[in-house]
């Protein structure tokens, strides 16, 4: 009997030891797969992290192709309180949604205990990833955005270079139009990314009130003179300066209009630079024709995008491993990989713009220089607005474009949409 008991005890101990030493599995759902420009970056970081923590922690990637699919799934998991250990907030403001359900791990003690990690946070990064003085996220992407222009088309129209003021900008649009060139790429579908960039730039440069509006996290009131003023200009842009397929069109249509030389300008971030030399999307030599600029009145989008979040788990060892993963994925090395492979400008000023990045993406170097002239900077409207407003933008922009809706009515629709989050 004693032998049997001893044997059982030994088995239990071995099993217990085994489970204690078992490799921690971190499920990581990501939309950065497939044709997503960050896919090679994430693949490399996962491989490196797994090699670095071999036998201890392994990241198991769950591929969720399509950004909207990712958000849909995360929302279901969030409602079920079954979030994976690490989620990526990206531009979808998942931080507040997860925090409202008390599902996030406070990263403050971890960040404060690691000077190297703490140094990665500048004021903006801290602001976007913190709530009530506690840090919940860690950023990897700078989300620095200007606009691209076709130098050849500018030359054809007799335009010397990017406009310094909005008056000059709209005069350029008229000049381009008179030369038979469609000035702008715009869109309305899939949250109207390109259009919302023009809109945000117009709001941010409309004065102090505009800047204050852009600095707000999840604004409730869009019935303001600066927003309505911007919407008036957006309406004009739709009616006079863009392609026929902009209304109802997605980002792809807007991008194609620019890449095929049909339009002279598109607002977008540096991750698009790779497309200019992709001959399946643009003609051979197109990259040489593209210039990059900050917006009129010295504005640029320049605020780190909400980063990686660690969620509460039953097993504290899993939480610890998740923190390690987030630290690795947002460190200097990770941001350098993204910079050199994807052309993504870093979230942290600690990351140097390397020569490799400049060689890989010459326009990026040009943009970094242009950025020095930016006197007004903010986050994108999409990063700060309530998520449900993205759908309202897509649904109502065609009405604004056609004139079926006035800028005031559009602003009211956004305000009413925002009120639904109360």
């Amino acid at each position: 009997m004693k032998r049997i008991l001893s044997l059982l005890l030994a088995v239990v101990m071995v099993l217990g030891l085994g489970s204690a030493l078992a490799e921690i599995k971190l499920d990581y759902p990501t939309f950065q797969v497939g044709v997503n420009t960050a896919a090679p970056v994430i693949a490399q970081l996962v491989e490196e992290f797994n090699a670095l923590h071999a036998g201890q922690v392994v990241i198991q990637v769950e591929e969720i192709p399509g950004d909207a699919n990712y958000i849909d799934k995360i929302k279901v998991l969030l409602n079920a309180k079954d979030l994976p250990p690490v989620i990526y907030g990206a531009g979808y403001n998942l931080l507040d949604l997860a925090l409202a359900s008390d599902l996030l791990v406070d990263l403050t003690p971890y960040v404060e205990a690691d000077p190297e990690w703490q140094a990665m946070y500048n004021d903006k990064a801290l602001e976007v990833n913190s709530r009530d003085g506690k840090i919940y996220g860690s950023s990897a992407e700078g989300n620095t955005i200007g606009y691209f222009y076709n130098k050849e088309l500018f030359e054809q129209a007799g335009i010397a270079g990017p406009a310094k003021t909005w008056d000059e900008f709209f005069a350029q649009l008229d000049t381009l139009k008179a030369a038979g060139i469609t000035p702008l790429s715009m869109d309305t579908a899939d949250s109207a990314w390109v259009t919302s960039l023009w809109m945000g730039a117009l709001i941010a440069t409309s004065g102090e009130a505009g800047q204050a509006f852009m600095a707000q996290m999840m604004p409730d009131d869009y019935n303001t003179p600066e927003v309505i003023g911007a919407l008036e200009k957006i309406q004009k842009m739709f009616q006079e300066y863009t392609t026929f397929d902009a209304v109802g069109g997605k980002y792809e249509n807007a991008a194609n209009a620019f890449l095929s030389g049909q339009t002279a300008m598109i607002a977008n971030g540096p991750w698009m630079i790779g497309d200019f030399s992709d001959t399946t999307k643009a003609p051979e030599g197109f990259a040489d024709k593209v210039g990059v600029a900050i917006y009129p009145e010295g504005f640029a989008y320049d605020e780190p995008i909400q980063g990686y979040l660690v969620t509460r788990q039953q097993d504290s060892a899993v939480e610890q491993a998740a923190v390690e993963m987030v630290k690795y994925f947002t460190g200097v090395h990770a941001q350098t990989v993204a910079l050199e492979k994807q052309g993504m400008l870093p979230a942290s000023t600690q990351v140097e713009i390397t020569q490799t990045a400049k060689d890989n993406f010459p326009l990026l170097a040009e943009f970094v220089v242009a950025l020095e002239g930016a006197v007004i900077r903010s986050a994108t409207t999409q990063a700060t607005m309530y998520p449900n407003l993205l759908d309202i933008m897509s649904a109502e922009l065609p009405n604004l474009a056609s004139g079926a809706m006035t800028p005031e009515q559009f602003a009211q629709a956004l305000t009413e949409g925002a009120a639904k989050n109360k």
Binding site: V33, G34, V35, I64, G66, D72, V76, A80, E252, T280
Partner: protein
């Protein structure tokens, strides 16, 4: 006076063949129907040989060159073949189980009387009108608590259940259309309940079974949202998910997307082309029985 040739039409009689010029409108109409039906498929196949710029700039133009680069990229970017195989297994299993199990219930609803029958039937049938989004959360929690998340049986179970109301409606109507005298004759001849059901009733409702199976198959084959939410690994993911690999918010590869769609639909079209006679027959069997 010369007589026009007479041609056979089935076994029901003879009719006069109209001259060719009189049949031209009918041919044109049929040609139009064929074009309308084939155009989307041809457009997808043609687009798989065009560049992104050509697809977006001139959607209906012909490709300028025929390269299989799109197909190479499609196979490289997404695990489409694996997902296709999973789709076949999951769809076949869920369709078979759905039609088999629900037809048993439908038979009971069509043939027996019991208290609350109409209420129960209404509840089951009404579940068809519940929006997918409303089902998402409870289904996720049930499947997770059963330990069936990210598993083939989990997805089979969900698809089987999702198609239940439609199959129930179709099969109850089919069973109700079979004269009760046939059943009674079987019982008089000594057949038991199961024998009567499987050997008499089911063969007489082949048309309904085929319709229900086709609907269940198509619904399961095309379903996206539950496949997304209930699965994690490539081992159980289905074909519709693979098509999302080619577009993201700031990136797209339509050439590969159309190549992937071509690879996804061509096998189904080929199978239908080979078995179209059987499929068509199964759809009309029972239509004239009464």
């Amino acid at each position: 006076m010369t007589q026009r040739p007479l041609t056979a039409r089935g076994d029901s009689g003879l009719r006069e063949q109209r001259p060719f010029h009189a049949r031209i409108p009918a041919f044109l109409y049929m040609l139009l129907c064929v074009l309308v039906a084939l155009f989307p498929i041809l457009w997808v196949v043609m687009s798989s040989f065009k560049s992104n710029a050509q697809i977006l700039s001139s959607a209906v133009s012909l490709p300028t060159a025929y390269s299989f680069e799109g197909y190479r990229m499609a196979l490289e970017v997404s695990p489409i073949l694996r997902y296709f195989f999973n789709s076949v297994v999951i769809t076949m299993l869920s369709t078979f189980l759905n039609v088999f199990l629900v037809s048993l219930a439908a038979y009971v609803f069509a043939r027996t009387r019991f208290r609350g029958k109409n209420l129960l039937f209404s509840i089951l049938a009404l579940s068809m009108v519940i929006p997918m989004t409303a089902l998402m959360q409870p289904v996720y929690q049930v499947i997770t608590s059963l330990g069936l998340a990210d598993s083939l049986p989990g997805l089979v179970l969900v698809y089987m259940a999702l198609n239940m109301p439609l199959t129930l409606l179709i099969m109850r109507a089919s069973f109700a259309g079979v004269p009760a005298s046939l059943e009674e004759a079987a019982y008089i001849d000594g057949a038991g309940f199961m024998y009567t059901y499987f050997r008499v009733m089911l063969p007489l409702t082949k048309g309904g079974l085929a319709s229900a199976a086709v609907m269940a198959f198509l619904n399961a084959w095309n379903e996206f949202t539950f496949a997304l939410v209930l699965t994690k690994s490539a081992a159980v993911r289905t074909l519709p998910l693979s098509l999302s690999y080619f577009t993201s918010q700031f990136s797209f590869n339509y050439t590969a997307l159309f190549a992937a769609i071509t690879m996804a639909v061509l096998p189904s079209i080929l199978i239908f082309a080979v078995f179209q006679e059987q499929v068509s027959q199964s759809l009309v069997i029972g239509a004239v029985k009464g």
